[in-house]
């Protein structure tokens, strides 16, 4: 027997022992999510997910070749190129990226870190001590954290040092650079995951279970928003870090990513006193996060697992019915048909009660909030309110509206439990439906309060009636047109259709969304700013609005009748069609 075969047999025998089986079960639960619907989830397997997580670091490293290539430096005339100084912003970016991706994974796994009711039903009555299930779950978390940290940073830990060290003749430089980089980004990843994990454990420990469930969604959204905000700092912070020694009270000192950059510079022996101090903070934070996560997990585990059967048997809680008057009001003025009325109630309740939908929409809103705050900061940047709104100021409602609309359109494609959609299949006439009208009205109800109750008064107050009204009318028309563009070909009752199959068009859709963002926010606000100065330029908007409306109208006209029917399964269209020319004589 070869040693390889011997090892494989030994491993197989070990893997079939109770403890490894429990670990595997926990890994599966954490990875797939505790409340994963059985047939309708996004069937990402572990391999695919790991590949997706590894992609950003790899790609970004490759794009940096342009910056570090010695030939390109020579062409640019850069003769005194210090790779370590040049790598500082990129190093910071990789630290942020590793923290954001791993933290995001932690937020995604938030609910499945602890054993759930299914585990209790299946394992609770078996002759296994609860402590063994606890240890197996802990090992699973540890294994997944390490795999995730290594995977997210694997590609960048190889490619980035290779690219930075390409201009150096010494191998030791590259090896040292790679070692420090890999250590720092992996530790930053682990810190990020443990911080999310500790937050979940502490909340579960300190709050009554019902309150924890209720605020869990908001806590996750807040963490997700903070991660996005951290990502958006990655281009500005390295420059600001250079000024850090001069500002003793800078809020940058509170950024975990800055601590790990300090740690990186400390290991490289290039840290000034401030960065060295931040490096020590990073180590302290890592140890603290590990301790808090372990303690909170141990205590929360007991509370969660031991009390699961009690929670299952406890009398059910009540859902609030406080918003019923709002529905009556909207029935009177907005939703005029039974389809729309039933649809609106279903959509709103699903959006705010179903975690997956609320989180996805929250993510888009957080993204919008981050971009809008960036625009706000660059608009004022320490100056007072200008007499005339700049393009940055004008872009804020457009940014928020764009992210909100895109988010709403995106979440409508995420199915709620499909087992429950039979009621819609049974009751709705697929050839006569008002799904687009319903979604249009839902968007109107969700977006218009922000525009008219928040944005309008602000613009009126600071820049007067002419500017305020012109801007709000333009934002409203623009958002209405964007709604129409997003609803081209829409023929689903929200949340009741299977996931769209992943097609090459999905990549195009992502690229179009990014380009659309710039066109919708930056270009529009720039044009508007010019139109406010020279009113004749306002005519451009009229022409553009009509052009978009006409294009949408033409596309709608060209859709054949069968492609307008309501669907519950989003399967790709057949690539060929059999024409039965001989049928029917």
């Amino acid at each position: 027997m070869t040693s390889r075969l011997w090892f494989a047999n030994k491993w197989e025998a070990y893997a079939r022992k109770p403890f490894p089986l429990l670990v595997r079960l926990s890994i599966n639960r954490i990875f797939r999510g505790s409340n994963a619907d059985e047939e309708e989830g996004l069937n990402l397997n572990i391999g695919l997910l790991l590949a997706l997580l590894a992609v950003p670091g790899g790609f970004i490293s490759i794009f940096l070749f342009d910056k570090y290539g010695s030939f390109l430096q020579w062409l640019r005339g850069q003769t005194n190129f210090d790779p370590l100084t040049a790598a500082l912003p990129d190093e910071y970016f990789f630290i942020v990226l590793s923290m954001v991706v791993t933290g995001g994974v932690g937020v995604w796994w938030w609910d499945s870190i602890f054993p759930d009711r299914r585990d209790f039903t299946n394992l609770g009555h078996l002759p296994i001590p609860t402590a063994r299930i606890f240890v197996a779950n802990s090992v699973a978390i540890l294994v997944l954290t390490c795999i995730c940290a290594i995977d997210v940073n694997g590609a960048s830990s190889i490619l980035f040092p290779l690219i930075v060290g390409a201009s150096q003749l010494r191998f030791s430089f590259m090896a040292q650079f790679a070692g420090v980089h890999a250590l720092v980004v992996v530790l930053a990843s682990i810190f990020s995951f443990l911080a999310v994990f500790a937050t979940a454990g502490l909340l579960m420990l300190l709050l009554p279970y019902a309150v924890f469930r209720r605020i869990s969604l908001y806590a996750r959204s807040l963490i997700a928003a903070s991660l996005v905000a951290m990502l958006s700092t990655s281009f500005a912070v390295p420059r600001m870090l250079l000024d850090l020694p001069r500002s003793t009270h800078s809020s940058l000192r509170l950024l975990p990513s800055a601590w790990f950059l300090g740690f990186c510079q400390l290991l490289r022996g290039r840290a000034d006193p401030v960065l060295a101090e931040l490096g020590h903070v990073a180590m302290f934070a890592l140890v603290s996060a590990s301790a808090v996560a372990a303690a909170a997990y141990t205590l929360a585990y007991r509370r969660c697992f031991v009390r699961l059967p009690e929670l299952a048997d406890a009398p059910p809680g009540r859902l609030g019915a406080r918003s019923s008057w709002v529905f009556h009001l909207l029935d009177l003025f907005v939703f005029r048909t039974p389809f729309q009325r039933a649809g609106y109630r279903f959509v709103i309740k699903t959006l705010f009660r179903n975690e997956a939908h609320a989180l996805a929409l929250g993510g888009f809103l957080a993204l919008g909030a981050v971009f809008a705050s960036q625009a706000l900061f660059s608009a004022f940047n320490g100056k007072g309110i200008p007499d005339f709104p700049t393009s940055n100021v004008l872009s804020i409602p457009l940014i928020l509206g764009y992210c909100m609309l895109l988010g709403i359109r995106f979440v409508f494609d995420i199915p709620a439990p499909l087992r429950a959609n039979w009621i819609f299949r049974f009751l709705l006439d697929d050839s006569v439906h008002e799904s687009a009208a319903l979604v249009r009205r839902v968007i109107l109800c969700l977006v218009s309060p922000w525009i008219f109750l928040v944005a309008l008064p602000i613009y009126l107050h600071f820049w007067g009636w002419t500017v305020g009204l012109f801007h709000i009318v333009l934002v409203t028309v623009w958002l209405a047109l964007l709604t129409e563009v997003l609803l081209v070909g829409f023929r689903k009752f929200p949340f009741t259709c299977t996931y769209p199959s992943f097609e090459p068009s999905a990549v195009i859709a992502v690229i179009a969304s990014v380009l659309g963002y710039f066109a919708f926010t930056a270009m529009t606000s720039q044009l508007e700013s010019e139109a406010l100065a020279t009113p004749v330029a306002g005519g451009v908007f009229l022409v553009m609005s009509f052009g978009v409306w006409y294009a949408v109208h033409r596309v709608r006209k060209s859709v054949v009748e069968t492609d307008q029917h309501l669907i519950f399964e989003d399967s790709p269209a057949a690539h060929f069609e059999l024409l039965r020319l001989t049928d029917g004589g």
């Binding site: 079960l25 797939r32 994963a36 209790f120 009555h125 002759p127 059967p309 009690e310």
Partner: protein, 255 residues
Amino acid sequence: MLQAIELTKHYASIPAVQNVTFELKAGEILGCLGPNGSGKSTTVKMLIGLLEPSRGRVLFRGEDIRKDLMSYRRIVGYVPEEPNLYPYLSGREYLELVGILRGMPQPQLGKKIDSLLALFSLHPSRHSAMASYSKGMRQRVLLIAALLDDPEVLILDEPLSGLDVSSALVLKSLIRALGQQGKAVFYCSHVLEVVERVCSHLLILRQGRVMVSGPSGDIQRRIGHASLEGTFHRLVEDVDPDKVTREILDVIRVA
């Protein structure tokens, strides 16, 4: 064999089960009946040691089960109320998992699983993920998992839920046969006809309290009803079914 002594369970201050006392001897099939919220599931969870009673004890052969819960669980087979299984495991993988966690010797385990899968008509789909199983198929997987280690005590919570007619017939016959072999069976159900046919003894709960317990024939004689339905209605139900029916019809007719 199994004794419940004054079992009481409170959730916060709300009593779910109060002073439930009964005995289950070897060879007996005890049918536990009660309307929704009567405390059946809570009683079951205390019987298998998943829930700790607020007061009272469960004794197995005179010993408190909490003294050595692991040994007790080794001789108990349990079918939960809901077939809440891991959807990404196949039926065979799930049964293997249960067998290994129960400490069953592995070479025999595989053969036993295959034989039981074939007898429960699950052999063709044994390697398919349980996400694709029907409710009845999942219920059969749970039944096999409960029977796999030849338990001395069987605790079944709605075991016929989702089963087709022939599987239900097999299971009813199997439960009777297990009783004859000396196993103790605790059978929770809403289906009065099945309980009437299968169970030798009855335990009827209402609002967490025992209304009556003992041999089914004795209970029916005591209450004075020939059928279990009549007995159950007399003991448990507050509502007049005819009156409620009339009221429902009236409401349906309103435009």
